[in-house]
């Protein structure tokens, strides 16, 4: 589904990604771990199309087509979703109106009519129940005054609504207490299927107890320095990142 080939990216002439290679197939869950500043979040942003970062070399291929020339919204229409580490607060736009607009824009891009209001409501009910969300949040301004956990829950709610092919979850576990973590992980697990793929970006092994990855990659200094199965995460937890830095 997703192929990342020798990806180099920089910000203000400072190289962050220095040759990433990654292959993600439908139905797989990949975890990307690594110390602070290793380039994990940059990788997520580059896949999602954040223009703050400049791709200098390499390619990102989704379903056999390069997506590097596409704008972030075009990528979203093709099924890319990124859950933000720090979701943005947007005063004046309710979560409901925001997600309605997003869904109908995606449908429009794919040549479909707007989703009838009745179906939209049903979908919102269903997905918010999945995330055990307090419905009051849906009519409040997007993320405004939400706690860290509420924001993350809202991100996964949006993911559930948009049903992406490729979901990149950037540090979704940070700021979550254990109960919220379980709910969010449970949501992600229920959304997983043979047709979609998930990339989990995380600092800690904790999240991986709840969303079990098929592969774990360690990012260091802009490169994947080690890949393995889920056991690799335990090894990292035990030995720390210094161990891989020496590789």
């Amino acid at each position: 589904m997703l192929e990342i080939k020798n990806l180099h990216a920089e910000i203000e002439n400072k190289g962050i990604l220095k040759g990433i290679n990654l292959n993600v197939k439908a139905g797989e869950v990949h975890a990307i771990m690594g110390p602070n500043g290793s380039g994990k979040s940059t990788l997520a942003s580059v896949i999602a199309g954040n223009e703050t970062f400049v791709v200098t070399k390499g390619d990102v291929i989704l379903e056999n087509k390069s997506i590097l020339e596409l704008s972030p919204d075009e990528r979203a229409h093709k099924g890319v979703f990124m859950s933000f580490q720090y979701p943005i607060e947007i005063p004046g736009v309710s979560t409901t109106n925001f997600i309605k607009t997003a869904i109908n824009e995606k449908r429009k891009a794919n040549g479909m009519e707007d989703l009838p209001a009745k179906d939209m409501l049903k979908l919102i009910r269903e997905k918010s129940a999945l995330l055990e969300m307090n419905r009051k949040f849906l009519s409040r301004s997007l993320n405004e005054g939400f706690s860290g956990g509420e924001k993350k829950r809202n991100e996964i709610f949006q993911m559930a609504m948009l049903e992406p092919k490729l979901a990149i979850l950037d540090e979704t576990d940070s700021g979550l207490d254990i109960d919220a973590l379980k709910v969010v992980a449970n949501g992600v697990n229920k959304l997983k299927s043979a047709e979609n793929a998930v990339i989990l970006i995380t600092h800690y092994q904790r999240l991986l107890d709840y969303i079990v990855p098929d592969f774990v990659h360690v990012l260091h200094n802009g490169k994947i320095v080690k890949s393995g199965g889920k056991e690799l995460a335990y090894e990292l937890e035990e030995k720390g990142y210094d161990w891989v830095k020496d590789i």
Binding site: M82, G92, E105
Partner: protein
């Protein structure tokens, strides 16, 4: 001939042709006002209050000063300019002349009718003596000019304890029958004790000819009265508007003036509030959304004269292309106006590279036990918010519009008439050139 000279000679013509009653008490008021205008002339950028707004290009036309015949317009052609979804009283003028056909006035229990009747009929003499031109004196020669040429406008007089069952719409159409025209409507609105009134006002050109409107409105809110005044300013490119609204409030009254400035070439709003009693609440709100070379100047005065009153002022501006905006918000708190709460906020977003805003809060506080605050921001759209929205599949144009809409939403939320709120939302969506496909 320069416009000023033309106006001076027109004034003499008006007096000599018997268009006005020379014996009426307002003759004196007119003459004084004209003398004052003659002396001061039109304001220029040298005047502190007009530093950022030049009237030069607007005044440089051979305006016809007196409207001629009533022009026929069909309701179906102008229906869209009314808030037609709801029942309302209507006072409608076409090229400055009352249109009985488009209007829906009343004398049943209260007066919703014409300024010209008030000027002519003796039974209104007391009203004229007590209210006319009593608060419209802001050392502004344009207000004097309007006073000198007062002929027509809306007259609304609501007695005590009346809650109006429906809003009043005051609409001024310009058909373009005269090539360039100067219109000077004059409204007088008196709301008695405990009465509630909602007014929606609009100036609408139906032609691409040039029109300059110099409107003056005086509003008197009695004890515990509630008055909400909404001004839709969404006119065509060759239409300019100088609108002065003066509001005097008595004890425990609540009044608001809300301006929605999206269209027109040049718009100047003078909104002035005067408190005459305790526990008064005043609201001044505005949104300007401009593009191309449009200019809007919002000049406000909130004059706290008595203790224990509150005022809230919120102006938002969105400026694209080479549009320009001015916000000048003056708050005066007299020495005796202790326990005043006065809040003022002006937030602006500049989108166009050549767009500018001049924002000037002016607080003159002579009392020592007050809460007064003012804040002014000038910024751009938040890039991280744009990326966030795009990453969810909302294209740049729609994402920008949604953010801008959200920015202005705080003002829209203050509209108390739901149908008007929907209408304003649609106008905003049109102005931002998007379909905001969600329910408001």
């Amino acid at each position: 001939m320069e416009l000023q000279e033309k106006l001076i000679s027109s004034f003499m013509v008006m007096e000599n042709l018997g268009k006005v009653d020379l014996d009426s008490s307002i003759h004196d008021i007119r003459t004084k006002a004209m003398a004052s205008f003659e002396k001061e002339g039109f304001p220029t950028k040298k005047d502190e209050e007009w530093k950022y707004t030049s009237l030069k290009s607007v005044l440089n036309h051979d305006y016809s000063v007196f409207p001629k015949e009533e022009s026929d317009i069909e309701f179906k052609d102008v229906k869209k300019y009314f808030l037609h979804e709801i029942e309302s009283y209507k006072v409608v003028f076409v090229d400055g002349i009352y249109s009985s056909y488009l209007s829906e006035t009343t004398h049943d229990g209260f007066d919703i009718c014409l300024m010209s009747s008030v000027l002519k009929k003796p039974q209104y003499q007391l009203v004229l003596d007590n209210y006319f031109n009593k608060i419209a004196q802001n050392n502004n020669s344009l207000t004097d000019l309007n006073t000198a040429f007062t002929i027509e406008g809306a007259y609304i007089h609501i007695g005590k304890n009346k809650i109006l069952p429906k809003p009043i719409q005051i609409v001024n159409f310009y058909t373009g029958g005269e090539k360039d025209i100067l219109l000077q409507p004059r409204n007088l609105i008196i709301v008695g004790e405990n009465s509630h009134v909602e007014i929606i006002e609009r100036h609408q050109s139906l032609s691409n000819n040039t029109v300059l409107t110099n409107a003056v409105t005086e509003v008197f809110a009695g004890k515990r009265a509630i008055v909400d005044y909404y001004k839709i300013q969404n006119d065509r490119e060759n239409a300019s508007l100088i609108d002065s609204t003066f509001v005097q409030q008595k004890e425990s009254s609540i009044a608001s003036v809300n301006t929605f400035s999206f269209g027109g070439k040049l718009t100047r709003n003078n909104v002035e509030f005067f408190h005459e009693g305790e526990r008064i609440e005043s609201h001044i709100n505005g949104i300007s959304i401009l593009d191309k070379k449009q200019h809007v100047d919002n000049h406000t005065l909130m004059h706290h004269k008595s203790p224990n009153c509150e005022s809230f002022e919120l102006y938002k501006g969105i400026y694209d292309d080479a549009s320009t905006g001015v916000f000048n918000g003056k708050v005066i708190v007299n020495r005796e106006a202790q326990k005043t709460n006065a809040f003022q906020q002006n937030n602006n977003i500049l989108i166009g590279d050549k767009a500018t805003i001049n924002s000037k809060p002016q607080l003159e506080i002579f009392a020592d036990d007050v809460k007064c605050s003012h804040g002014c921001t000038i910024g751009q759209l938040d890039e991280s918010a744009l990326f966030y929205m795009q990453s969810r599949g909302i294209p740049t144009k729609e994402a920008k519009a949604l953010l801008l809409y959200a920015f202005g939403n705080e003002v829209v939320e203050k509209i108390k008439i739901p149908e008007l709120k929907t209408r304003i939302t649609k106008l905003i969506a049109n102005k931002l050139n998007v379909k905001l496909g969600f329910d408001m």
